[in-house]
C-alpha cells in the first residue's frame, strides 16, 4: 500500500513503462505474430500469389528427415558452443582478475572480438582453415592430418564451433570479470587464512557466488547459439558438407532467403521460437533454483 502512494498520478507508471513496452511490441510481438501468420500461408518469392494453407507448411516440415537431422545438429552445436564459450571465458576471466601488470591491455584484447560482425568472423575462420591456402590449415596438413572441412563433417563442425565460440568468449568474459570483481575480497581472504587452496577457494566460494552471472550467461548463450550463429555458418560452411552443419536457424535462413520458401521458413522459425521459449522456461524453473543471489 505504501508503494502505490509514491505515484500521485495514475498514468505516470504506465507512461514510464511505455518506451519499453513499445520496443517489445514493435521488435518482438509484431514480427513474431507476422511469422506465425506467414507460417499458415504459401507465397511465391515476390509475394504475388498468397494462399492460406492451414498447417500444410508444418506437415511438410515434419515430414522431412533433414529437419530432424538439423535438430540433432543444433543440439550438438549449441551444447559445444555454450559449454566451451562459457568455460573458456571463465578461465580467462579468473586469470585476468589476478593482479597482473598488463591486465588492462589483456582485458581490452579479450573484448575486441565482440565488435566483429558474425559474417566477418566467419570469413576470417574460413580463410585461416581453407584446406589449400589457409595459414592454419597448411601446417595441419603438413603434420599429416588430412584436414578437409569441405568433405569431413567433423572438421566442418569443429570449424563452425570454433568460430562461434571465439565470437562469444568476449561477451562472456566481460560479464564473468564483472561478476568476479563484485565478489568481496574479504570472503576470499578469510578462506585463504583458513587454509583453503586456490582450487578449493574457486569451487566452494567463487563459483557459487558467481552463479547469478553464470545463469544469466547460460540463458544469453543459448539464445545466441540458437539465433545469432547463422551468419557464421553461412560464411564458413554454407551448412555443408552434406548438411552436417545445417542447424535449425541456418535452415530457416537457407529455406527462406536462398529458397524463397517464406511459408516453410516461417513455420520453422515458429517451431524454433517455441523451443527457445521452452528452454528458457526450463532454465528458470530448474537451474535458477541452484543460483545463490
Amino acid at each position: 500500500m505504501e508503494k502505490s502512494t509514491v505515484f500521485n498520478n495514475r498514468l505516470l507508471p504506465y507512461l514510464l513503462l511505455l518506451p519499453q513496452l513499445v520496443i517489445t511490441v514493435v521488435f518482438f510481438y509484431w514480427p513474431a505474430s507476422q511469422a506465425i501468420w506467414q507460417s499458415f500461408l504459401r507465397e511465391d518469392a515476390f509475394g504475388l500469389v498468397s494462399e492460406f494453407v492451414g498447417l500444410e507448411n508444418y506437415q511438410a516440415l515434419f515430414a522431412q528427415p533433414e529437419y530432424y537431422r538439423s535438430m540433432l545438429t543444433t543440439v550438438i552445436f549449441s551444447t559445444l558452443v555454450a559449454a566451451l564459450s562459457l568455460s573458456i571465458a571463465l578461465l580467462f576471466a579468473t586469470q585476468a582478475d589476478k593482479n597482473l601488470k598488463a591486465a588492462p591491455a589483456y582485458k581490452t584484447l579479450m573484448i575486441w572480438p565482440y565488435a566483429v560482425a558474425p559474417a566477418v568472423a566467419g570469413v576470417l575462420w574460413f580463410f585461416m582453415f581453407q584446406p589449400s591456402l589457409g595459414m592454419l590449415a597448411r601446417p595441419l596438413r603438413g603434420m599429416g592430418l588430412d584436414w578437409n572441412p569441405l568433405l569431413n563433417e567433423n572438421h566442418a563442425m569443429m570449424l563452425v564451433v570454433m568460430a562461434s565460440v571465439w565470437k562469444q568468449i568476449s561477451y562472456n568474459f566481460l560479464f564473468f570479470l564483472a561478476g568476479l570483481q563484485s565478489i568481496p575480497k574479504s570472503v576470499i581472504e578469510a578462506s585463504a587464512i583458513d587454509g583453503a587452496r586456490p582450487v578449493r577457494r574457486f569451487w566452494t566460494i567463487i563459483f557459487p557466488l558467481l552463479s547469478p552471472t553464470t545463469f544469466f550467461l547460460l540463458v544469453v548463450n543459448v539464445v545466441y547459439v540458437f539465433f545469432d550463429t547463422f551468419g557464421i555458418i553461412d560464411a564458413v560452411t554454407g551448412g555443408g558438407p552434406a548438411g552436417a552443419t545445417t542447424t535449425m536457424v541456418y535452415k530457416v535462413y537457407a529455406d527462406g532467403r536462398l529458397g524463397g520458401d517464406l511459408g516453410g521458413s516461417a513455420a520453422q522459425s515458429v517451431v524454433l521460437m517455441v523451443i527457445v521459449i521452452a528452454l528458457t522456461a526450463i532454465q528458470f524453473r530448474y537451474v535458477e533454483r541452484k543460483v545463490q543471489y
Binding site: R42, F46, L133, L151, G238, P241, L258, G260
Partner: protein, 437 residues
C-alpha cells in the same frame, strides 16, 4: 562490401550530375553482382552510355553475390521500390519467369519503346535459355559463360602427360600421373560441384537432367539424373577421392584459387574464370573442352550456358522503360559486344560480335576464349542440352551438392546419394509448382 563500392559509385554519380545539363534526366537503377575487373566493366559501360546521350542516366549499384543481388531485388520489389534492371544468375531464371507482373519481358519492352530489336541477331544457344518456348526473349543476356577444363600446361609436361586429356578415363590417368609427380593433394578438381557433375555432365552426354526438356517445357518436370551413367561417374569420383587423385572443390567458385596457385593442374570451372586466371596464374595455361565418356553414344553433345542476364522489373514509367530499351540497344552494338567479350572472357551475345572476333583473328591469339563457344555450338542442341529451368534452383543446387558431398565423404553410396538428390529435388519442384501458377 556495399560501402566499399559506394565511394567510387558516388564519385561517378556526382561527376555526372555536374556534367549533365540542367534538364530532367531519367534515372535508371541497375543492380548487379559483378566484382573485381568485371565491376569496372559495368561502371565503364554505364558511364559510356550516360555520356553518349543526355536523357537517361544509368546508375549501377553492386548488391553482393548473385543470390544476394537477387534477394535484394525481390525484397525491394515487395517493398515497392525495385530497381529497373536487375542482374540475375542463370539458376534464378525459373523464379523470375514465373513472376508474371513482377517483370517486364524484354521482347515486350523493346516493342513498346519502338527500339529496333531482332531476336535472331543473338546467339540462339544463349538466348534460348532466357526465352519462352515460343522464342520470346524474356531477359537480356549480359554475361554468359560455359564450363571448361582449365589446364596447367607446365605441370602436365612435368608429369609426362603429353596430350591434353579429352575423355574422363584420360583425365583420371593424367591425374594419377600428376599425383605421382608431386601433386599429392590434388590430381584434378572442379568448382561448382553440381553444375559440373550433374548439369553440364548431363547435357554434354545428351542424357536428361529432368523430363520436359529439363523443365524448359513446363514446371511439371521430374528429375532423372540418377541414371546408371550418372552413378558410374559419381562412383569414379568417389573412388578417386579416397587418395585425392580427385579432390572435391566445393559448391561455388571459392576454390578456383587452387588452380591459380598451381596446386590443381586440371580444374573444371566457368570460362568466365579467364580474367582471374590471366591475372593470377604464373604458368602457361589453357582451356580445353570438358571431358566425356567415349562409350556413351553421341558424346560429346553441346554444353549449356551459365552466367547471368538482365531482368527488367515491372511497374515502372514508360519513359523509364524507354531508357532501359535504349541501354539494351547500346549494349547490343557489335563493336561494344566484341570488345566486352575480348576483355572479360564472357561470351559474345550477338552473332555479329562473334563473327567480328573471328574476323579480327582474336581466337588465333586467344584460343582459350573460343573453347566455350566451340562447346556450346558443338552440335545442334537436343531436348537434353538446350538448357534447364527448374524452380527453386538456387537451393536445389545446394541440395544436389549436399548429396554429392555425402557420397564423396563416404556416408552414402553413389547410387543412394543420387537417388536422394532426385527425390528431394522432386519434392522441391512440387512445392514450386504450387506457387508458380
Amino acid at each position: 562490401m556495399a560501402f566499399r563500392q559506394f565511394g567510387p559509385a558516388a564519385a561517378i554519380t556526382a561527376a555526372l550530375a555536374f556534367a549533365t545539363p540542367a534538364h530532367a534526366v531519367t534515372e535508371i537503377q541497375w543492380w548487379h553482382a559483378m566484382t573485381g575487373g568485371n565491376n569496372d566493366i559495368v561502371n565503364k559501360l554505364a558511364e559510356e552510355f550516360n555520356t553518349s546521350q543526355s536523357d537517361y542516366k544509368v546508375v549501377p549499384s553492386y548488391k553482393g553475390s548473385y543470390p544476394d543481388t537477387m534477394n535484394a531485388g525481390i525484397a525491394a520489389f515487395r517493398a515497392g521500390n525495385a530497381p529497373h534492371i536487375m542482374q540475375v544468375f542463370e539458376v534464378g531464371t525459373a523464379t523470375m519467369m514465373s513472376a508474371t507482373g513482377a517483370i517486364k519481358p524484354v521482347h515486350q519492352l523493346m516493342k513498346d519503346a519502338g527500339e529496333p530489336f531482332d531476336p535472331k541477331a543473338y546467339l540462339p544457344t544463349i538466348t534460348g535459355y532466357y526465352s519462352t518456348s515460343k522464342g520470346e526473349m524474356l531477359s537480356f543476356p549480359f554475361n554468359s559463360s560455359s564450363m571448361v577444363m582449365w589446364i596447367n600446361k607446365d605441370e602436365l609436361k612435368k608429369a609426362g602427360v603429353t596430350e591434353i586429356p579429352k575423355t574422363w578415363p584420360e583425365v583420371f590417368d593424367a591425374a594419377k600421373k600428376l599425383k605421382a609427380a608431386g601433386h599429392a593433394t590434388c590430381g584434378f578438381s572442379n568448382a561448382w560441384a553440381s553444375w559440373a557433375h550433374i548439369e553440364q555432365f548431363s547435357a554434354w552426354h545428351n542424357v536428361p537432367i529432368g523430363t520436359k526438356a529439363n523443365g524448359l517445357d513446363g514446371f511439371d518436370t521430374e528429375l532423372k539424373f540418377n541414371s546408371p551413367l550418372h552413378v558410374k561417374h559419381l562412383q569414379n569420383l568417389v573412388d578417386l577421392q579416397k587418395d585425392k587423385t580427385y579432390d572435391y572443390g566445393g559448391r561455388t567458385s571459392t576454390n578456383e584459387a587452387r588452380f591459380g596457385s598451381g596446386e590443381c593442374a586440371i580444374f573444371l570451372t566457368s570460362s568466365g574464370y579467364y580474367a582471374t586466371a590471366k591475372g593470377t596464374a604464373k604458368f602457361d595455361f589453357t582451356s580445353a573442352p570438358m571431358p566425356y565418356y567415349p562409350d556413351v553414344a553421341g558424346a560429346p553433345q553441346n554444353s549449356i550456358i551459365g552466367g547471368a542476364s538482365l531482368w527488367v522489373m515491372g511497374g515502372k514509367k514508360p519513359e523509364e522503360y524507354k531508357g532501359v530499351a535504349k541501354f539494351f540497344t547500346f549494349l547490343s552494338d557489335t563493336n561494344r559486344q566484341a570488345k566486352l567479350h575480348q576483355e572479360s572472357g564472357y561470351l559474345p551475345i550477338t552473332k555479329a560480335a562473334y563473327e567480328k572476333s573471328i574476323k579480327d583473328g582474336f581466337y588465333e591469339k586467344n584460343p582459350t576464349l573460343q573453347t566455350p563457344l566451340k562447346e556450346l555450338t558443338n552440335k545442334e542442341p537436343t531436348e537434353n542440352s538446350r538448357g534447364l529451368r527448374f524452380g527453386n534452383m538456387v537451393q536445389m543446387r545446394d541440395l544436389w551438392s549436399e548429396e554429392i558431398e555425402a557420397a564423396l565423404g563416404g556416408k552414402k553410396s553413389a547410387k543412394e546419394a543420387l537417388d536422394a538428390a532426385v527425390s528431394r529435388g522432386n519434392a522441391m519442384l512440387r512445392t514450386f509448382e504450387k506457387t508458380a501458377k
